[in-house]
């Protein structure tokens, strides 16, 4: 069903009306921020990514044809913006191979350890994963992307995506188990 109020807001936002853009933002701010925060693993970076995502969305709003809901479209823009930025950041740090798990980030012995007394929630454990692992895990298990789609977006092979996913799941499980055992003891 077409949301007429939202369609009006989109039309006005296309015409450059800031108030319409603000209302669209208010409607979908949480959804967009949540997905970039999960991918970023960090509050400050997430805020930057959300800002970039919304700026991109409003700059490209003429490309939005209304074939999907605006929320779906802006969510996709946010995911693409976040992945692009994360890949650029990885390149800048010369860690692009982190997406393959071939650097030190892929070595479990070099990962940051959670303190024994710290209750590592699933969210915190997700934050502790290397960028590449976290991206693959979130895109596959929550966003529902296939390994082919993930490979295309992250610039990695399908097999690498599968391998990253299994390692990410195992690492997440270890972090949470270790933490919960620490809390119980």
């Amino acid at each position: 069903m077409v949301d007429l109020a939202e369609a009006t807001l989109v039309r006005r936002a296309r015409a450059g009306q800031l108030e319409a853009m603000r209302q669209l933002y208010e409607r979908h701010a949480s959804r967009v921020y949540t997905v970039v925060r999960r991918l970023a693993g960090d509050d400050d970076l997430a805020a930057d990514l959300a800002q970039d995502a919304w700026t991109n969305a409003f700059q490209r709003i003429r490309d939005f044809r209304g074939e999907s809901a605006f929320g779906t479209w802006v969510h996709r823009v946010a995911v693409n913006t976040a992945l692009t930025r994360l890949r650029q950041a990885a390149r800048r740090r010369d860690l692009e191979r982190g997406f393959d798990g071939a650097t030190t980030l892929g070595n479990p012995d070099r990962w940051p350890a959670a303190g024994a007394a710290e209750r590592v929630t699933v969210q915190r454990a997700l934050d502790l994963l290397p960028d590449g692992y976290r991206s693959v895990l979130w895109l596959h298990d929550v966003e529902g992307y296939t390994h082919e789609e993930i490979g295309a977006r992250l610039g990695i092979a399908v097999g690498t995506s599968k391998s990253q996913l299994s390692k990410a799941r195992a690492r997440l499980r270890a972090l949470v188990t270790q933490s919960r055992a620490g809390v119980r003891s």
Partner: protein, 221 residues
């Protein structure tokens, strides 16, 4: 017993068939528990609650959008921003002085509150020190003004409304911007500053005039 690898467990979690894995799983409680734990963890991931965006995020986004009035402010950096802050802070301080004088122009001892602030000469030698001095004196003036207002209320003297105080403040910002523009008439930031101050001042004027009667309307150039 050799247990299933993390890769195999992951494939099973995604519903893929792996040769020999089913047989092992049916007879190994360790791997059954591990698979179930992974399934549970995935469910927990999917149930993580949505997060609230930072409160200032829209302001940051808006500043980068065409047509935004915040954009020019966000673009201010370095010495130019410091200079404009100094102008604004000084303007607010001067506004206070003018307001105090206006309030007490009809009464005896009319500049007592102002004099307490304006008595000493500025001593700052650098821009940073000058900014600190203006802020310090502004704080002193705020206290003095509050005292004046309190006394005025006690004695039944007129006290300007918040809207009127804002109006005077905005007019002073307009004048300060015009003064700055007389030095750098082509500066786009200063022009934006003047434009924004005039726009805000006129909006405040309209707001005041809506409250007041036709014969009492405030006019401003």
């Amino acid at each position: 017993m050799v247990h299933l690898t993390e890769e195999t467990l992951s494939e099973l979690l995604d519903g893929e068939s792996v040769a020999g894995a089913g047989e092992h799983l049916s007879s190994c409680s360790v791997c059954q528990d591990e698979l179930e734990a992974l399934r549970q963890l995935r469910a927990e991931l999917r149930e993580l609650p949505d997060l609230g965006a930072p409160e200032d995020l829209w302001m940051r986004i808006e500043a980068g959008l065409p047509g935004s009035r915040r954009g020019w402010r966000a673009g201010l950096r370095g010495p130019r921003l410091v200079a404009l802050q100094a102008v604004a802070a000084a303007a607010v301080f001067v506004i206070g002085l003018g307001l105090g004088r206006a309030m007490w122009s009809d009464g005896p001892g009319s500049e007592a509150g102002v004099g307490a602030v304006a008595a000493s000469r500025p001593s700052a030698m650098t821009l940073t020190e000058a900014m600190a001095e203006v802020q310090r004196r502004g704080a002193d003036y705020d206290e003095a003004l509050q005292n004046l207002e309190r006394l005025a209320r006690q004695e039944g003297a007129p006290v300007p409304s918040l809207a009127q105080q804002r109006l005077v403040g905005l007019q002073m910002l307009v004048e300060a911007s015009r003064t700055a523009l007389s030095v750098e008439p082509a500066d786009p930031v200063l022009n934006s500053y003047l434009f924004a101050a005039v726009e805000e001042r006129d909006a405040m004027l309209r707001e005041l005039n809506e409250v007041q009667g036709p014969g009492e309307q405030v006019l401003w150039r």
